[in-house]
Symmetry: C2
């Protein structure tokens, strides 16, 4: 098995060298052909998927898990649509980010290049196979996919179709490879291969991400949990605050950029919280309040110390009354996951203070935390949302899958 993973990595490295200088046209044609072939081979993919579903049902997986696993003609069409959208995006490779001239006449430029080989370790949803592979190909990277064992048949089928379409359109062999070893050991083997793999992106639960971060010799970009806040300032437009907070919690509670804790300045808590909490309750949101919140709206649960650190991913909200914007920022810094944080205020100083002092991937004034998303930010497509500071932070598009190199034009300069 060790040997198998090593060979995959070596083949990926060789493919990445060819891929790094391939034309945009070949990449786009390949992506379009992949989209077409996925639709054409719907039956083949659905059949493979049915094996996974059968096995999952046998193992007693929850209906929600089985739903995430399920592929059908509509979902395969969505995958194809994603591929075509990525084909339509501009190619990031070759963009000169900056260029300047030195006193000795050297012209120095910083140009975007592919990273090389990207390893994606993911769980459950088989559509990630197509999304991740196509983003890597468009940015000129070879990709090694390692999906979850529960989707192994679906992933093998999708990867096979993608490779076939790529190969017949000029993509180097082994540009897209899937590790079909389902043992957990395969991940550990993969994480040792820093001579061949340039980046590992784990997508999945907290335990997967922790395992990867703790064992990888390869640089990692992680997409960890989201524990987001909305802070209603003393000078907030309260109607806007209600709209933003409601959207942040209710529009899609199960995702990382949904709000988990609402912070309200004490001066407006009395006028804001009764109608806000009523609105949440009408939408079946369970409220857990601090003592000062309960003094205003009594028929809610007590928030415990744990609540401030809990990512519910559900229709549950903790609410806290704070004395000042400093206390709000302090609470966010202590308990937040620094993914997506919002303030609602009409006060110029408080808006800037929040933007400056909250050290999250995205910080909003007067808008919902739910906008932290590659599509919403206009990046076109998204590989995930980086919750770390190195290389990139926040939604990751094609640009974030590239590196740069310096190119230097001289006419015989030597160093004194």
């Amino acid at each position: 098995m060790k040997d198998k993973i090593l060979k995959i990595a070596q083949k990926a490295k060789a493919a990445s060298r060819k891929l790094s200088n391939i034309s945009t046209k070949i990449k786009n044609n390949s992506l379009m052909a992949m989209a077409d072939l996925l639709e054409e081979r719907t039956d083949f993919i659905v059949e493979a998927n049915s094996k996974d579903i059968k096995y999952a049902k046998g193992k007693g997986l929850s209906p929600a898990m089985i739903d995430r696993l399920t592929l059908n003609a509509v979902r395969i069409k969505e995958m194809s649509k994603g591929l075509r959208e990525i084909a339509a995006l501009p190619d990031p490779v070759g963009e000169v980010v900056r260029m300047w001239r030195r006193p000795n006449g050297l012209q120095i430029g910083k140009i975007r290049t592919p990273l090389g080989v990207i390893g994606i370790i993911y769980e459950s949803r088989p559509n990630v196979t197509a999304d991740a592979a196509s983003l890597c190909i468009k940015s000129g990277n070879a990709v090694i996919l390692r999906g979850g064992s529960e989707a192994i048949n679906s992933n093998i089928a999708i990867a096979k179709v993608l490779s076939e379409a790529g190969s017949s359109n000029g993509l180097p062999d082994n540009s897209i490879q899937l590790i079909d070893v389902t043992e957990r050991e395969a991940i550990f083997e993969m994480l040792k291969l820093n001579a061949y793999i340039d980046l590992i992106i784990p997508r999945g639960g907290h335990s997967l991400i922790r395992t990867v971060v703790e064992n990888s010799t390869i640089p990692v970009i992680k997409h960890d949990k989201g524990l987001c806040h909305v802070y209603i300032d003393s000078e907030a437009d309260l109607e806007m605050g209600k709209k933003v907070a409601f959207n942040a919690k209710v529009q899609r509670p199960g995702v990382c950029n949904a709000m988990e804790t609402l912070l309200v300045h004490k001066d407006v808590a009395g006028s804001f919280l009764p109608s806000m909490i009523k609105k949440f309750k009408d939408a079946n949101v369970e409220i857990r309040g601090c003592q000062r919140t309960k003094a205003i709206v009594s028929d809610i649960k007590d928030a415990t110390a744990d609540d401030w650190d809990t990512e519910y991913l559900d229709l549950i909200l903790s609410v806290k009354v704070v004395d000042s914007i400093d206390d709000a920022i302090e609470h966010i810094t202590r308990h937040g996951s620094m993914l997506s944080e919002a303030v609602v205020t009409k006060n110029y100083n408080n808006a800037w203070k929040f933007l400056r002092e909250v050290d999250a991937a995205s910080v909003f004034v007067n808008a919902s935390t739910r906008f932290t998303d590659g599509g919403q930010f206009g990046l076109g497509a998204e590989m995930g949302i980086s919750t770390q500071k190195l290389h990139c932070r926040g939604p990751m598009g094609l640009e974030e899958l590239t590196s740069t190199k310096y190119i230097v034009f001289g006419d015989g300069q030597v160093r004194e």
Copy 2:
């Protein structure tokens, strides 16, 4: 000891929060005060340094090592000069890299922020203590320094002076901390603290870097070895080729961006190599040639297979005749460390081919590999040269010690 390192990391984290929003003026005043106080305390530092020197001599360290370790009034003045230069550079924090407007009216910006806490693990030269600390402070980061045991007294003295000058000029306490535990275990403890430390930069030999990469749970930017080439193309200006190759090898052979292997196209080998090799020999460079090189210039050593993979860091050069630019690029890709690579050519297509296909941190046309350097590139100061692709590649200045965050200005937008 474990507890001590943890406390240092926690204090650094707390300091980094304050540092991230401190004014440029306080940072610059602190750096200028540090420069002054270093000079003022020359005797104190030299005295501490003399303990290290005494110990090093007792241990029988080489004169070269002892020279690297030695501090005197001139070298302390150089450190101070470095600090003043960093004070004079523009502050990278707060720069808005890009800003755009979405159809829904959201104005989205990407703004530079400090990384947080940077850990530097280095060897031998005590001046790194001042250089690294000042770059971190200027970019708004708290720093944890872990120098080599052989310079421990010097490092403690320098860090003490820097902290004192910082504190009396408004820098948060614990912005600069030095780990005074000399046991190797201290490094392993440090590398576990990803909850507090945002980046580790190892500076030193290959074995230090390997230890850090293999054991760190914290993202690492590494500065690994340099095995650089100059390729003399069939259409080179041979006089320029001679000048560039000579400079790349001889101007300072002991550094990472010096040339180790000279590649020469077969069509010009006969006219180029005799006078080139004579010039090298006159400068006491030992030549190790391939068989085709030896057929042209006979009185040189044979290059063995190992030579192509050896970073001499010395007045030794391996020389190889190649059939084509493709063979040259293939050789570089196989044997190079992808740090600094140069082609000498008058041919437009070959220049672009080399720039595109050689995947090194810096690629030069008609200039010496020795220019790969923060100062030479105009970055003002340098933390090292990244030999990895993630986050930054090539010379690292202040900008490379920052992250970005998204700031979003709305007027009540919610997600549909």
